[in-house]
């Protein structure tokens, strides 16, 4: 019965395009809309070729208005379509905040399931690519705090395709965050077929005994580098978790890991105050208090706006900061 799975080597941004094309071929109700997603194929080329293949009716350049994009997508989603709305950058999602907060995420619960909003909002995000101000915001926590929407963040091509397909198939709104730093940083083997990476499940990228390193998105490379260097230098072995979904968190994965290692370092780009890292701290406190051998450390962006790009590297957590947190925790 098994047919050979065809494999292609793709960057993350290519895998994202591939996921949309795969779903659009299979389902007529899947639409792509946003600013410059048509002929231009998106400012990152994430929708490259889609309009040529699926036409202007299904890959739609909208006026420059984020509330308009999300608000009309809600209408489309309530009335039989599955829109994939692109925000050109996550930093430009704010004008649509009202539509997401008071409608996209609430329509199912307000109407007791009478109307539903099966839509995906895609948004490139994060610092480290020398983008101008506002373009680099990492505000996942604004959405994990919003009841009624799921938030996912792949860190590589394979997960990106599977998670995006799962997001499009999800009966509820999903915010699909795309770390710009990962768009072209690696190529990975990605099946040509349709497959899903389950929403709500994280991944253990590396087994270790001494400490759990918990991160997502562009921070995975930083964390993996730190884990490798600290093992070489000090023989400390790290259990490296890529959360993949930020709401709902993969509680089992985190709990199991921390109960094994007794220690955790959480790494994210967003400001520490109000960041998703605090949710992870609470989760560990709730589930694993007696297992903890040291306080949990968070290595995060500062409580400052992401600065202009000449100095943004000093905003972002790097392997040095992560290693310092690891040794502080292990030696506590």
């Amino acid at each position: 019965m098994s047919t050979a799975v065809r494999i292609q080597k793709l960057t993350m941004v290519q895998a994202i395009t591939d996921a949309m094309a795969t779903m659009m071929r299979e389902h007529d109700d899947v639409l792509v809309l946003g600013e410059d997603v048509g002929k231009n194929g998106g400012v990152f080329r994430a929708t490259d070729g889609l309009q040529a293949e699926f036409g202007e009716q299904r890959v739609i350049d909208t006026p420059l208005a984020e509330s308009g994009i999300i608000g009309t997508s809600i209408g489309l989603a309530m009335n039989g379509f599955r829109p994939i709305a692109e925000m050109q950058f996550l930093g430009f999602i704010y004008p649509a905040f009202n539509q997401i907060m008071t409608h996209a995420s609430r329509i199912r619960s307000r109407t007791l399931g009478h109307f539903t909003v099966p839509m995906v909002i895609r948004a490139p995000f994060g610092a480290g690519v020398r983008a101008p101000e506002i373009h680099s915001d990492s505000v996942e926590a604004l959405f994990t705090h919003m009841p009624g929407i799921k938030v996912v963040v792949p860190s590589n091509a394979y997960d990106a395709k599977g998670l995006l397909i799962a997001s499009i198939e999800d009966p509820d709104p999903v915010l699909f965050l795309e770390p710009m730093r990962c768009y072209r940083s690696h190529k990975l083997e990605v099946p040509e077929e349709k497959y899903k990476v389950e929403i709500g499940k994280g991944a253990r990228l590396q087994e270790g005994e001494d400490i759990s390193l918990i991160a997502w998105g562009a921070m995975m490379d930083v964390v993996k580098k730190a884990a490798k260097e600290i093992e070489e230098a000090e023989g400390i072995t790290c259990d490296v978790l890529d959360l993949l979904t930020l709401y709902p968190l993969d509680r089992n994965l985190i709990t199991e890991s921390v109960q094994k290692t007794g220690r955790a370092v959480i790494v994210h780009e967003a400001p520490g105050t109000g960041g998703v890292g605090n949710d992870v701290v609470s989760l560990i406190n709730d589930t694993s208090f007696l297992h903890l051998r040291a306080p949990i450390k968070r290595v995060t962006g500062h409580d400052t706006p992401v600065p202009m790009f000449a100095i943004e590297d000093h905003y972002l957590p790097d392997a040095e900061r992560v290693k310092q947190a690891i040794t502080d925790t292990v030696r506590f």
């Binding site: 809600i74 009335n79 199912r108 007791l112 509820d172």
Partner: protein, 355 residues
């Protein structure tokens, strides 16, 4: 601009036909239907105010004075069309077939109050002002893509025109040629703020110029002009010609909500004056009398039927029993996340303990 967007009328205050464009269609049966629907709306509204006074429901939002605008516009909808009301548009939702019981339950704070009858595309009142204009555009655009001739109608007030979503909604609809009727009820006030402080323009209809779509200004207390102009705009939309902005000039007699005191910001004598002059029901009564078919006995009979219907709805509301608490947990997602499930479980075990 006022000259370019004159307020269209069919009936003047005395119920005299001043524009004969639609005279052929102004049949006795249509006239009576319009009258009955307005009376029904008004009686529903008065019941709502009373129920609130008696503490049987919470804060209520009255619409008395705006019946013609809402009834006339909603009566032209067809099966399957989409309606996006505000909190003040029960006359519209009721006329289009919403359940009176559920409308009352809405104001009693029951989740079920947001749910329209099966098959009726009626959205719950959009609480954030003007946000619903985009949904109406989206659902209409979807109908266009599906190739049906269905359309959307969206209600909003004069105050709503100031929000960014008003602008984005009209622009998207015009760019994508979506079959949507933007039905503005200009009742002169956004809570306490009069139209002159909301905008410099003397009309709302002229804002259509910014989107290159038709803008129509009508007497919102003249049910005929509301009915026929909305019908025209709908036919325009259904035949693929895109959206229309309709400004129906009207007035709310009462408070913004039952928690509001209009005497703080305006002279309520004006409301009294309007009740006697421009009132939509009175005007239609005068017209019917002029036509020779207004009859107090008939009115009494109609009133009795409506009273029965509304009393039944009130009874149904009260027979509904307590609101379903578990609704809070079970519809956030198709399948609850673990955090919601856990909160639900611990809620249920607390409930059990209490028993």
């Amino acid at each position: 601009m006022e000259a370019q967007f004159p307020m269209k009328q069919i009936l003047n205050e005395d119920g005299v036909v001043v524009n004969s464009e639609f005279e052929n269609e102004m049949t006795e049966s249509l006239t009576k239907e319009l009258y009955i629907k307005m009376l029904r709306a008004r009686m529903f509204d008065r019941k709502g105010v009373n129920l609130q006074r008696q503490g049987r429901i919470g804060t209520y939002v009255p619409f008395e004075g705006q019946e013609a605008a809402q009834v006339g516009s909603s009566l032209v909808l067809k099966e399957g069309d989409w309606m996006f009301p505000t909190y003040r548009d029960h006359a519209a939702t009721l006329t289009y077939g919403h359940s009176a019981r559920n409308l009352f339950l809405y104001w009693k704070g029951y989740p079920i109050g947001c749910v329209p009858p099966e098959g009726k595309n009626i959205f719950p009142p959009a609480v954030p002002i003007a946000s619903q204009l985009l949904h109406a555009t989206g659902t209409a655009w979807a109908e266009k893509m599906k190739g049906t001739d269905r359309c959307s109608i969206v209600y909003f007030g004069d105050g709503a025109t100031s929000e960014g979503d008003f602008h984005e909604g009209l622009n998207f609809a015009s760019v994508f040629n979506a079959p949507v009727i933007f039905f503005n009820q200009n009742n002169g006030f956004a809570i306490s703020v009069p139209m002159e402080k909301q905008m410099k323009t003397k009309t709302i209809a002229q804002k259509a110029v910014a989107y290159d779509i038709p803008g129509v200004r009508i007497d919102g207390n003249d049910i005929f002009v509301v009915y026929f102009e909305t019908k025209k705009a709908m036919e325009h939309a259904r035949s693929g010609n895109g959206p229309t902005l309709i400004e129906a000039v009207t007035y709310r007699y009462g408070a913004h909500t039952t928690a509001d005191d209009p005497s703080k910001y305006r002279d309520q004598k004006e409301a009294k004056r309007r009740r006697e002059t421009t009132d939509p029901l009175l005007r239609l009564e005068r017209y019917m009398a002029n036509q020779g078919y207004f009859d107090e006995a008939w009115k009494t009979q109609v009133e009795e039927e409506i009273t029965k219907e509304i009393e039944q709805a009130v009874e149904d509301m009260e027979a509904f029993g307590p609101a379903e608490i578990t609704d809070m947990f079970t519809h956030v997602f198709h399948t609850p996340t673990w955090s919601i499930q856990e909160q639900f479980d611990s809620f249920q075990s607390r409930m059990k303990e209490e028993v």
